[in-house]
């Protein structure tokens, strides 16, 4: 029982207009986690939610094709690898595991960097989960 998409021009236009702002908001939430509520996780979810909104407006399959799975996987895999690199890297620098203050920037920026990685992971994963659940199954 696949959902048939009703391509409403109003919805599509609205989404087209809103999506860039939503993405920007996601980035903002991610980057300003240090000063205000929010952070990588919330920002990532907002970004993913934007993609999902797009998918609702334009249909899942076209969205998957448009976004390209490689990009989605690349985003969260890159986030994971970067986070992992920080975790293990500080040990190689002679410090403790995940010793953010050993990074060549101030602690604050180190924290923000990690927030960005988290944002990437969450955005990528949540988008993937949505795609997988809506595309998966059906015994293909």
């Amino acid at each position: 029982m696949r959902r048939t998409y009703f391509e409403s021009p109003i919805v599509m236009t609205t989404v087209r207009l809103v999506a860039p702002f939503a993405l920007t908001y996601g980035a903002f939430v991610t980057l300003h986690g240090a000063e205000s509520p929010g952070g990588g996780f919330q920002g990532g979810v907002v970004v993913a939610a934007t993609v999902i909104t797009v998918a609702f407006a334009f249909g899942v399959r076209p969205t998957v094709d448009w976004v390209d799975e490689r990009v989605v996987v690349g985003v969260f895999a890159g986030g994971m690898l970067a986070f992992g690199a920080v975790t293990v890297g500080t040990v190689l620098l002679g410090g403790a595991v995940l010793q953010v203050d050993l990074l060549p920037v101030s602690i604050k920026y180190g924290i923000e960097a990690v927030e960005v990685f988290i944002g990437a992971i969450v955005a990528g994963v949540v988008t993937s989960l949505f795609f997988l659940l809506s595309e998966g199954g059906d015994g293909e």
Binding site: V29, S36, Q42, V45, F76, F83, K108
Partner: protein
């Protein structure tokens, strides 16, 4: 924030939770669940947890509902006889027992918001507690105003690494569950 509002919120979330439980139609259930999540995120705001509120709103009301709906769309929307489920006495008894245990501990718990609560002491035996440390020292040490972020990434960064791993595990798990990774890279 008045006590009345707080009580109203509590009543709201509990009733939406009960409604979620008793509604037979799964889509209706999901809709009420979204309302429940919104109610909860207001409670987070009342409890001065804006980070949690933001997350709850985005996840509980947003992502979670979408995923649930997608799943229902992929499967079946069973809505046979009656709008509400009938009560299952055995389940009720089992759950009632647990509730009895939980309720009996409530009077022993410190009142919410009380300064006497052990979790809100800044020092114990002259040493800073985690709470004291996070509100007194964290900003000086990290330059990050939002101490939730400071704790999340810096002080308890390893939890967050674990959290990222959990998220990643979810996608791996879904891939495995849905029949391997062949789907990726196809088409």
């Amino acid at each position: 924030m008045t006590v009345a509002l707080e009580l109203a919120l509590v009543v709201f979330v509990v009733s939406t939770a009960v409604a979620t439980a008793v509604l037979r139609d799964i889509v209706a259930s999901i809709a009420v669940f979204a309302a429940f999540s919104l109610g909860i995120s207001v409670i987070w705001l009342v409890l001065q947890a804006p980070d949690v509120a933001l997350t709850e709103a985005a996840v509980g009301a947003g992502i979670m509902s979408v995923l649930l709906l997608v799943t229902v769309a992929k499967t079946a929307r069973a809505s046979d006889e009656g709008a509400l489920v009938s009560v299952n006495p055995r389940a009720l008894a089992a759950v009632g027992l647990l509730l009895l245990v939980l309720v009996s501990t409530v009077p022993a718990l410190p009142e919410v918001g009380s300064e006497e609560a052990p979790a809100l002491q800044k020092t114990v035996d002259g040493e800073l507690t985690p709470y004291g440390y996070y509100v007194e020292e964290a900003y000086n040490e990290t330059g990050v105003e939002n101490s939730v972020t400071a704790v999340l990434v810096y002080y308890r960064g390893f939890d967050t690494f674990g959290e990222a791993t959990v998220v990643f595990s979810a996608v791996v798990g879904v891939l495995v569950a849905l029949g391997g990774s062949r789907r990726w890279g196809e088409e």
